[in-house]
């Protein structure tokens, strides 16, 4: 079996994502019109790549993440910008960011409901250890009234056994972990595929909050 011709993977744009669900029409025209009528200062990088992204891309320290908003189909690429302990901040080429604790979604910036921060350490521990069981997690969302709202969830984690998935680097054997969480009025289901040889989450579907819902996240090694 010959190797597949290498398909060049591209960094898409997610900045419009949060908004495009709510409004239709030509966004850039609307922005320009507002700018003109209301004398809004223009953002330097209004079009094109976010300035902090270029050096990350040039450094080529991989891997990258391919992230898709399941509801809308919009997708974008992310590179790791910073690490502190187990927490990693990943930047999209349009300036939005996703924050993970060992691959479990910990925060969002410029995308979705505004997940300011979380405590998902118990989930990450169990998922990486392949351990089924009950854990708690906490998410803090910035709501539409600029108030940080802290919410706690009860979660059940189940090890569903091994599964081979296709990544751009080839077939990868993983352990499929499913986490079902609920609070009084919210519930969601996350799925993680943990690469058994690398010991890390290489693919996942995770809830980002009520505004855009599920994100489909996949590791990309060649970009």
């Amino acid at each position: 079996m010959g190797a597949l011709p290498a398909m060049k993977w591209k960094f898409g744009i997610l900045a419009g994502a949060a908004f495009s669900l709510a409004a239709c029409g030509n966004q850039s025209f609307q922005d320009r019109a507002i700018g003109l009528m209301l004398e809004e200062p223009n953002l330097a990088h209004a079009a094109g790549q976010f300035p902090r992204f270029a050096p990350l891309l040039a450094a080529k320290r991989g891997p990258a993440l391919d992230v898709q908003i399941v509801q809308s189909g919009l997708r974008g690429g992310f590179l790791r910008e910073s690490t502190q302990g187990t927490i990693e901040s990943w930047l999209g080429n349009d300036g939005v960011a996703l924050i993970f604790d060992r691959g479990v979604l910990h925060g969002t910036r410029g995308l979705g409901a505004g997940m300011l921060a979380s405590d998902v350490s118990a989930s990450a521990n169990a998922i990486l250890a392949g351990r089924s069981g009950e854990v708690d997690r906490i998410h803090t969302f910035l709501n539409g009234n600029d108030i940080a709202v802290i919410r706690a969830y009860k979660c059940t984690i189940v090890n569903e056994g091994s599964e081979t998935i296709q990544l751009d680097s080839g077939a990868t054997s993983t352990r499929r972990m499913v986490e079902t969480c609920f609070s009084l009025d919210q519930s969601f289901k996350n799925i993680y595929w943990v690469d058994t040889s690398r010991g890390r989450i290489v693919q996942s579907r995770q809830w980002s909050g009520e505004f855009v819902g599920q994100l489909a996240i996949q590791t990309v090694y060649n970009f």
């Binding site: 922005d31 209301l38 300035p51 910073s82 910036r109 410029g110 921060a117 539409g144 009234n145 600029d146």
Partner: protein
């Protein structure tokens, strides 16, 4: 300072439909609104209410009558409405009659399993009395789909099958309703309330499913005046209707009133606490990495030409990415201070967080204490001191907002001198050419008048606080000057000559001023402005404000000498001049309620006070009302009896989801007269300073780590 942009956000209903796209989930679950734009069936009220803080826009057509209403749920149990009505052919000469009215209603009892909800309402309690009426109404849900309403009404509600007022038991006076008090309108006609005959009204609402509701009601409004004029045919007390709720939150209703009149209505309910995009669309802040890596950065490495100047250059660029202008920088081994002017973030706390992050990701590792000073026109307002290690610890903490607030300190920055000022910062010069549109409302001949054209603005600032500014406008199109309204004022015509100003001007010099702002002492702010202050007046204005940083209370005083400008809006003056000024108290009651009282002398030389109450949502959306009572009698004042109005402010970020200091604002006065008129000088201190004071910073702290 926030940029206030007038009007464009109108309570025109095009705006509501635009909002509908962005705020779809903002509707209250089942409260339906009547043709009067208040909770009701078709024409009759119910005892339901909107959710706290909701704003409802309703436009309805019944026969020759078009009613546009905005209703605000001021408190969970109190709502207020403003309505603008057009009755085609309503005047004796066959032209349209325009009417403005205010309602207020009180939720007396909430519904329980056994008891109905009960509400008391006063309709058109300030106007000329066209719709004046009072009601007491009860609504009870039966099963999951049916709601039953019954009530008793007085005034306009007692048009059909009326009976002797049961309140006559208390006092015989209740049995007759005094008439002929309408007059100029605007008065609180409390002497009429709940008097005269009464009638019973009621009806049913049946919720077929989540989208569709059916209505049937027995209405006691007989439209006497319109019927006598042959404008409407009311031959039955029974009205029926159907309403459909679209996914985007818009309600559309069709109905038959009085047996023959077909009508329609569109309603949109907006929740100001829900912005278009809850988390905001702005890009991610810089994550704070390891300090040790920063020791290796070129700008911190003296062997590679690093040092304070090199670090400042990097810092300046990073602050600029977030719309923060670096105006001063001081660096010692363990401490650093930046002075910034925030041009982007409506929430000051977010600007403070971004500035602190820029410092924590740039400065040498030994620097631990980070101070951000907010400046306005180069004048220091407040300083926020943060420990760098707290930022590092809390940037990913789920309770980081509160914890970072509790560890930060917010102080007055009156003592900040010009040390560390960025070289070549002054002079600052900026100008811009843009289109503009200005609206005026409720001219009896034309409800909305608009003028549009080109606007040129420029300012020059040679040193902190001193600003020379100008604004010119050239109107290109509009119908303001088509009005044939001439001032009929019995007092000095300080505002009622607006049409003459529009007609006799060509190129307008709206403002041409020299302004100096300064800090006379701790917690004190000062402003002196001289020149052509506003469209109709020029002169000198001086203001002093006392505003401790964490205080709920602020006190101010302003004194002005104003001389009336020529109608051509160029350099000349008319004979009239006046010394005007106010003492002001501003108080933050908490829960978003802000009160303001200004007492003093107004432009026409009248003495009195203005009382204002605003409800400000945490995200900056504001709805408020005000009134002014002065020693001008209601006869001399003219139509409306005294000055009053409602006002709205919508942060642009509420609509776009992007950070902005621009606020769309609109004040709506039923009528603009000359009594109780204030000078419109720019840059009054309280609003400018408030965003960077402790209470407002605290309210916005949810965005500190955003």
């Amino acid at each position: 300072m926030r940029r206030h942009t007038s009007a464009f956000f109108i309570f025109a209903f095009g705006t509501a439909s635009a909002l509908a796209l962005t705020n779809a989930s903002a509707q209250s679950d089942r409260t339906t609104l009547s043709t009067y734009g208040t909770p009701g069936l078709i024409e009759t009220p119910t005892a339901r209410s909107l959710n706290d803080g909701e704003l409802a826009f309703t436009s309805s057509l019944v026969g020759p009558t078009m009613r546009n209403t905005v209703t605000f749920q001021i408190l969970p149990g109190v709502s207020g409405s403003f309505r603008y009505t057009r009755i085609d052919g309503g005047q004796a000469d066959g032209s349209a009659n325009f009417d403005r009215s205010f309602d207020i209603s009180f939720q007396l009892l909430d519904e329980t399993d056994l008891r109905p909800a009960v509400a008391l309402g006063l309709r058109d309690f300030l106007g000329t009395g066209l719709y004046s009426g009072e009601y007491l109404v009860a609504t009870k849900q039966i099963g999951s789909k049916l709601e039953v309403t019954g009530g008793i009404g007085w005034g306009r509600f007692a048009g059909r099958d009326s009976f002797t007022n049961p309140l006559g038991i208390i006092d015989d006076r209740f049995e007759t309703r005094p008439t002929g008090t309408g007059g100029r309108g605007g008065k609180v006609e409390a002497g009429e309330w709940f008097r005269g005959p009464a009638s019973i009204f009621g009806g049913l609402a049946y919720h077929l499913n989540d989208q569709t509701t059916l209505f049937a009601e027995y209405s006691t409004d007989t439209y006497d005046r319109e019927s006598n004029q042959g404008l409407i045919d009311i031959s039955s007390p029974l009205n029926v209707g159907v309403q459909y709720r679209f996914k985007n939150g818009v309600d559309l209703k069709a109905f038959v009133v009085g047996g023959n009149e077909i009508g329609a209505q569109v309603t949109y309910v907006l929740d100001p606490a829900k912005r278009a995009n809850p988390g905001g669309r702005e890009t991610a802040p810089r994550p704070i990495g390891s300090r040790r890596d920063l020791a290796l950065a070129d700008w911190n490495n003296s062997a590679r030409g690093g040092g304070k100047d090199a670090a400042q250059k990097v810092l300046d660029a990073r602050l600029a990415e977030d719309g923060l202008i670096l105006q001063g920088f001081e660096l010692s081994r363990t401490r650093a201070t930046v002075r910034i002017e925030n041009t982007r973030f409506g929430a000051g706390a977010q600007a403070a967080g971004r500035a602190a992050r820029a410092m924590a990701t740039t400065l040498p590792p030994d620097v631990e204490e980070l101070t951000v000073i907010f400046q306005n026109k180069g004048v220091p307002i407040s300083r926020i001191v943060t420990k760098r290690s707290d930022l590092e610890d809390l940037q990913y903490d789920y309770d980081g907002s509160w914890r970072s607030y509790s560890r930060a300190s917010i102080e007055d920055a009156f003592d900040a001198d010009r040390s560390g000022e960025v070289v070549d910062l002054y002079p600052v010069f900026d100008y811009g050419l843009s289109p503009y549109a200005s609206f005026s409302y409720f001219d009896p001949d034309e409800p909305v008048r608009v003028e549009a054209g080109a606007q040129f603005k420029a300012f020059y600032r040679p040193m902190p606080g001193l600003t020379f500014a100008g604004q010119l406008r050239y109107p290109l199109a509009g119908n303001v000057e088509d009005s044939d309204r001439v001032s009929d004022s019995l007092i000095e015509p300080v505002r009622t000559n607006a049409v003459r100003y529009a007609r006799e001007s060509d190129l307008e010099i709206n403002k041409l001023t020299a302004e100096y702002q300064f800090r006379p002492g701790k917690d004190l702010f000062g402003r002196v402005t001289a020149g052509y202050l506003e469209n109709m007046f020029g002169g000198v204005s001086a203001e002093l404000l006392w505003y401790p940083t964490g205080s709920r209370l602020a006190l101010g005083a302003e004194i002005n000498y104003a001389k009336q400008r020529d109608f051509d809006m160029l350099f000349g003056f008319q004979d009239y001049d006046v010394v005007t000024g106010h003492a002001s108290a501003y108080y933050d009651f908490g829960n978003g309620f802000l009160g303001q009282i200004d007492a003093g002398r107004y432009l026409a030389g009248d003495w009195g006070a203005t009382v204002a109450l605003d409800r400000e949502f945490n995200n900056g959306f504001r709805v408020g009302a005000f009134f002014t009572l002065t020693d001008v009698s209601s006869t001399d004042f003219g139509e409306g009896s005294f000055d009053k109005g409602i006002r709205f402010e919508v942060p642009l970020s509420f609509l776009t989801g992007k950070p902005s200091k621009t606020i769309l604002n609109q004040t709506i006065r039923p009528v603009q007269r000359d009594g109780g008129a204030r000078l419109n000088v720019d840059n009054r201190l309280h609003r400018q300073v408030r965003d960077a004071r402790g209470k407002e910073l605290r309210d916005g702290w949810g965005r500190y780590l955003r």
